[in-house]
Structures are given as structure tokens and as C-alpha cells.
């Protein structure tokens, strides 16, 4: 089988055949087009609003079974709406697709649309989009569903199922030729054991790599990283399968904390993770020090990485301040008050802001104000707000720039 996933998958995922429905210049000049489309889920549940960032009144409304967590997948051609409490996953064609030509990408734009196939299963949660597969873990089902990303970008949901030995809150990811799955204990309420490589039929393809209470996965460069009690476990594809490396939390980190959510940079090989309620940690999988801690003035509400300026990330704290994080300096390099305070006391799923990046903007949902807030990453100023009915909560942004021939 041909396998050159590293380069080919990104191109394949972005290649779609949507008709170009927008108006062409009559001269047929090539036009540089930048379009970001924002998908927002309501906190109360059951509805998703899509809108064009450049023309926020240009919007569409979709029904879902319940409250969603939204993920741009398949190169942004598709948005997955995972409804953990309602045992369903809906998909939307984003209406924005790219065809890569090396030195430029062609952009094709159409209306977003709901994809007919709706997945149902017990408590879908983590979604991993890597290596040509979009993989959804069903936490109470003991299995994951693998969806071919290229077909999904065309609106087709082509499924294969991977069965785990125990149902658990975990993830499955494709790495090289293997499926990596979290592994749970068969002892009730025992912490998850770690990560293991499997063949597609569920038979082990390697030893269990211990990573107690493993949670949260991200890819950056050649690495997958996941947080656990001992430290951050990294995995890379190698000639003989998978190579693991445990990066133990170092003594200069505040004691008693762990990483459970990681974001991977697409620009440089580095991760940003949570570390305690009011800390972040920059994780370098290769060079020491592997961990650099960033203390936040208040508890963290949400954080995101900036794909346009890969050294930067953004974190919102419960006092309503957005901070710019520089990953190279492992420091906060700017702060701006953006919302009223949102306390982290209470339920984890209470209505609180979420962040998403759109080119040179951070888009922040402000559920209590019924708004999206647009913050310019160069000036850290609010450049505008967009009213969204109900309580705008989870958010995904797809799109970018390309040439319209």
C-alpha cells in the first residue's frame, strides 16, 4: 500500500470537489480570497449557528440533538458536532475547502450544509483528527469509530470500528501504521493505565506504555503527547512501531499538579498544556528543559494556539482577561480585559467563554452577553462583537486564504 501520510494526508484532506458558487469576476482574474466561517453551539443545546466572519449577517442555523462540542476536521472541510450527553455526533460540511498546489492553495466556497449521516453511540467524547482518520472515542461504549477524513471532506461518513478491552474516557489515534489507544483497568474506578499500540483488529501491536490516568492528546511535529500523573508521555512512529518517552514533571514545577489537556503547535514542535488550575506549561518533546511553567494571575477558563504566529497562544482567565502567551519565552506578553468575570467555581460545563483563532483574530464566545468578541492579535484590542441568539458557547472556526481562479 502507498503510505506517505505525513505530507499527502494534509493535501488529500483539503482536496474537495465542491462547486464554486460565488460570483466570479467577469475578467476572470485570479482573486485572493480570505474567508473564515464560525460555527457556534448554544449552551442550552440543540442548535448550531454558522456565520461568515467577514459578513456576520450571512448565517445559517442547524439543529442538533443536544449541546455540542465543535471540531473543525478533515482540513476544515467538515465540522464535527459531538454531543456527549446526548449520544450523538452530527457533521456539517463547512462549505470552505482548499486544494493545495504547493506554492498556493485554491479555495472553494459554498454554503455550509448538514451531512445526513448522524452517528449515535454511548457518550462520544474525544475526537482525534490525524493521519487521514477522524477518530471518535465512545467513552461508555468501549469502542472508537474511525472515519476516513478524505471521504468526510466530501460529505461521506465511511466508518470502521475499533474495539477496546474496557469502556473508558479515552482516545484512539493513528500514528504511523498503528492505532494508539488509551487502556483502562478492569478494576472499577481505577485510573486509566496508559497507552498501547494496536492493530486495526484490536490485537496488541506493542507493550503498554504506563501513563497513569492518561488524558488529553495532541500532535505536534513528529510527536503525539498525552498528560498523565507521572508526566507527559510522548509517542513517535519509528521503523519498528512506536517509540515512547515519559517526560517526568520536573522538581521546579508546582507540586501536586498534572497536565490533562494539551494543544500541539502546527508551526514548531512544541505543546502547550494546562498545569493546575492557574498554570500552563510549555512542553518541548526534544530539548531540555522539557517543561516551562507559566503562572496565571487567575484560574484558566480556556486556551488556544495561534497557527498564524506559531510562537503565540492565548489564554482567558476567570477575571475576564485574555492573555497572550509566548511559547518561546514561556511568558505572558500581553493582557486585555475582554469579558465580565466567569468564575471557575461550579460545574465544569457551566456556560463560560471559549476561544478560537481566525487568522489575526481571537474569537471569544461570551455566553452571558450573547456575543462573539473579536480581538485583534496585533493590537490585543476588541475590533467588534457579533450577536448570537441564546448563549454562544462552544466554537470552531474553519477557513483561511486561497486563490479563487
Amino acid at each position: 500500500m502507498f503510505k506517505y501520510l505525513a505530507t499527502a494526508s494534509a493535501i488529500a484532506m483539503a482536496t474537495t470537489a465542491f462547486a464554486q458558487e460565488h460570483d466570479h469576476d467577469h475578467d476572470h482574474h485570479d482573486e485572493d480570497v480570505t474567508l473564515y466561517r464560525v460555527f457556534v453551539g448554544d449552551h442550552a443545546g440543540g442548535s448550531v449557528t454558522a456565520l461568515d466572519l467577514a459578513d456576520p449577517d450571512h448565517r445559517w442555523q442547524f439543529d442538533t440533538t443536544g449541546q455540542v462540542k465543535l471540531f473543525g476536521v478533515a482540513g476544515g472541510a467538515t465540522v464535527a458536532a459531538v454531543q456527549s450527553d446526548d449520544n450523538a455526533v452530527h457533521f456539517f460540511s463547512s462549505g470552505i475547502s482548499f486544494e493545495d498546489h504547493g506554492d498556493h492553495a485554491d479555495i472553494a466556497v459554498s454554503d455550509p450544509a448538514a451531512i445526513d449521516t448522524v452517528l449515535t453511540g454511548p457518550r462520544p467524547f474525544h475526537v482525534v483528527d490525524h493521519g487521514g482518520s477522524v477518530i471518535i472515542n465512545y467513552d461508555q461504549g468501549g469502542y472508537a469509530e474511525l472515519i476516513d477524513a478524505h471521504h468526510l471532506s466530501h460529505g461521506e461518513v465511511e466508518l470502521t470500528t475499533f474495539t477496546q478491552s474496557q469502556a473508558h474516557h479515552g482516545f484512539v489515534a493513528l500514528l504511523g501504521g498503528n492505532l494508539l489507544s488509551t487502556v483502562a483497568s478492569d478494576v472499577v474506578d481505577a485510573p486509566r493505565l496508559g497507552l498501547q499500540a494496536f492493530n486495526a483488529d484490536g490485537t496488541p501491536a506493542g507493550e503498554l506504555a504506563t501513563c497513569t490516568a492518561i488524558h488529553g492528546e495532541a500532535f505536534s511535529g513528529a510527536y503525539l503527547a498525552a498528560g498523565c500523573r507521572e508526566g507527559v508521555l510522548t509517542a513517535t512512529a519509528s521503523a519498528d512501531g512506536v517509540t515512547y518517552n515519559m517526560l517526568p514533571y520536573e522538581a521546579d514545577l508546582p507540586a501536586g499538579n498534572t497536565t490533562g489537556t494539551l494543544l500541539g503547535s502546527t508551526g514548531i514542535q512544541v505543546f502547550l498544556g494546562n498545569y493546575g488550575a492557574n498554570g500552563l506549561v510549555v512542553v518541548d518533546p526534544v530539548d531540555a528543559p522539557h517543561f516551562r511553567y507559566i503562572e496565571l494571575p487567575f484560574r484558566r477558563v480556556d486556551f488556544a494556539l495561534d497557527p498564524v504566529h506559531p510562537a503565540n497562544g492565548y489564554v482567558l482567565t476567570e477575571d475576564g482577561t485574555l492573555h497572550q502567551v509566548n511559547l518561546l519565552e514561556a511568558a505572558l506578553t500581553g493582557s486585555v480585559k475582554v469579558t465580565e468575570p466567569y468564575s471557575m467555581d461550579g460545574h465544569w460545563n457551566d456556560a463560560r467563554p471559549r476561544l478560537a483563532m481566525a487568522g489575526d483574530e481571537v474569537i471569544i464566545t461570551d455566553p452571558n452577553a450573547g456575543l462573539l468578541r473579536r480581538i485583534d492579535t496585533d493590537t490585543l484590542r476588541e475590533t467588534g462583537t457579533i450577536a448570537v441568539e441564546g448563549a454562544p458557547y462552544n466554537i470552531a472556526v474553519v477557513g483561511g486564504s486561497g486563490i479563487d481562479h
Binding site: M1, F2, K3, Y4, L5, A6, T7, A8, G102, G176, S220, G221, A222, A237, S238, A239, S265, T266, G267, I268, Q269, V270, V282, D284, V286, D287, V308, H309, P310, A311, L327, L328
Partner: protein, 291 residues
């Protein structure tokens, strides 16, 4: 102010071959960091935070260009650098890449390296002299005070490259005309082929696995037999599984290792560009004159 009191010019070279050339031209006047280490494949290199910090500090960043360093634009964006980014192939004669790219073999998989032009321009010593001239010009532009010294270093190094070029020509010219074809892991020697008259055959996008690959390998094997290839070489930056298989089917055993896109470590046979070209030439001529 003398040059010893001034801060040295901060130079980043993207990979080991141009790092070596930059060291020859810059000497003690530059503080040099090379990103992709010896024996490592720049094509699959993933830039690290330390690399972005080095680029952020740099005065001059020396790159090959021609899309050789796929990581470069991401790294420059991450660093936010104001450094001058120099493509050392600028102004040099380049060949188009047939099929829009070439394949690398990593962990048993074929990975396509897209690009309109063949980036392995350094594989002809005449071209390497062009790199040296570009490095010298870049250093002079960034550090005019020491320009004379950079130019003197470049002239000295270029003279040694002339000697190297003559040695390669003499070695290859001594080969029988029907013993001039070898098989290599990846299509990185087209400039060497054009300059010195050795033909290189390489697998074009065949993977080591599966049935589809069998037909592709068969095509290469037919080519190898038709050209009566005399030797097959592994490569320091890729695994040898595919070549071993091709060797088995053609009755050729691996004749050693060629250094295409990266130098060896200090203890290896190709720790400098000149040593690398000498090593490759003697490995090829030894294999082709055997029996």
C-alpha cells in the same frame, strides 16, 4: 573597534552541508548554529523551539532554497525574525524536478518531497562554489567590517573546491565507459550525474509494503538490469530495507553508504562537504571497478 571586540555575526544554517560551508567562510568571525544535524533528513525535520529562538537572534539565515527545507516558512513565522534569509541556490543553474518532486524513504515508507526544482544543487562542486560566493556576499552585507576576511576565506575554500572538482573528474574519467551506473536510495544525485557522468537509478515512489509496490519495484529492477548497474548504495539519511530488497532481486549487494543530503558525524567518513564528495566518489569508483 576591532573585530574581536564586536559581537560575532549570528548565523543560522539550515542543514549540515551548508553549515560546513558557512564555517569555512565565516571562521571565528561568526557564531554558527546548524539546525538539521549530521545524518538527519532535512525533509522530515521538525523545527524546535530552540531553533525558533536561534533564528530570532540571527543576523543571517543561510538556507538552500528550492523548497528543500519544508519547515522553513513555519520556523520563520514562529521566530518573528528580522534576519536576512538567504537562499544559497539563488542565481545558480538549477534543474527541474521531473514529476514535481522526489521520494525519501523513512521508516519503510515512501514520502514525497514536492518541489518544482531539484534542490540537491550542492552535488556538483562547481555549484558548491556558487554557494560559497553567496555565503561570502551575505556575510559581507551583514558585516561589512569583516568583508575582506570573508572574501579571503571564500577564495581559499574555493581553491580547495577546484582541486576537489578536478579529483572527482579524474576518478570518474578513469572508469570504463560501460561501468558508470549505480543504484541509490533517493534521487539526489542528478547534479553529480550531469557534472561528472555517472548515472544514478533510484526508486521512484515505491513503498516497501504491499502488492502495488511490487510492480513499481519490478520496473526499477528491469531498468537496473537494462543499464547493467554495477553497484547499489545505501544512504545515511534513510533506511536500507527497500534497497536490500532491490539488491536481492538484482544480485547486487550494498556497496556502502553515500552521503546525499547530510554530512556524517565528526567520526564518520564525511564530516565536511569536501570529505563527503571525496567519500562518495571513492565509494562509487571502488564499487564500479571491483571484479
Amino acid at each position: 573597534m576591532t573585530s574581536t571586540q564586536a559581537a560575532p555575526l549570528q548565523v543560522v544554517a539550515t542543514f549540515s552541508i551548508i553549515g560546513d560551508m558557512a564555517g569555512e567562510v565565516g571562521g571565528d568571525l561568526v557564531d554558527l548554529k546548524t539546525l538539521v544535524a549530521p545524518d538527519a533528513d532535512a525533509h522530515v525535520y521538525e523545527p524546535r523551539p530552540a531553533d525558533a529562538m536561534a533564528i530570532a537572534r540571527a543576523d543571517v539565515v543561510l538556507t538552500n532554497g528550492l523548497e528543500f527545507e519544508g519547515f522553513l516558512s513555519r520556523l520563520i513565522a514562529a521566530s518573528g525574525t528580522d534576519a536576512s534569509i538567504i537562499a544559497l541556490t539563488d542565481g545558480l543553474p538549477t534543474m527541474e524536478e521531473p514529476g514535481g518532486g522526489h521520494y525519501h524513504y523513512v521508516n519503510g515508507e515512501a514520502i514525497f518531497h514536492a518541489g518544482a526544482h531539484d534542490p540537491h544543487v550542492w552535488q556538483s562542486v562547481e555549484n558548491a562554489k556558487g554557494y560559497v560566493a553567496n555565503i561570502s556576499a551575505a556575510f559581507c552585507a551583514a558585516d561589512a567590517d569583516n568583508c575582506t576576511q570573508y572574501q579571503a576565506n571564500a577564495a581559499d575554500y574555493s581553491a580547495r573546491l577546484d582541486t576537489l572538482d578536478a579529483q572527482i573528474r579524474a576518478s570518474i574519467d578513469a572508469l570504463p565507459a560501460d561501468r558508470r551506473t549505480v543504484v541509490v536510495a533517493h534521487n539526489a544525485f542528478r547534479y553529480f550525474e550531469a557534472a561528472y557522468g555517472v548515472t544514478f537509478l533510484s526508486p521512484q515512489g515505491v513503498s516497501t509494503e504491499g502488492e502495488a509496490a511490487a510492480a513499481d519495484v519490478a520496473g526499477l529492477i528491469r531498468e537496473i538490469r537494462a543499464a547493467n548497474a554495477g553497484a547499489i548504495f545505501g544512504e545515511n539519511i534513510s533506511d536500507t530495507r527497500l534497497l536490500e530488497r532491490i539488491g536481492e532481486e538484482t544480485g547486487l549487494t550494498l556497496s556502502g553508504t553515500l552521503y546525499s543530503d547530510a554530512l556524517s558525524g565528526a567520526d564518520g567518513p564525511a564530516p565536511t562537504y569536501i570529505a563527503m564528495m571525496r567519500h562518495n566518489t571513492s565509494a562509487i569508483t571502488a564499487a564500479l571497478t571491483a571484479e
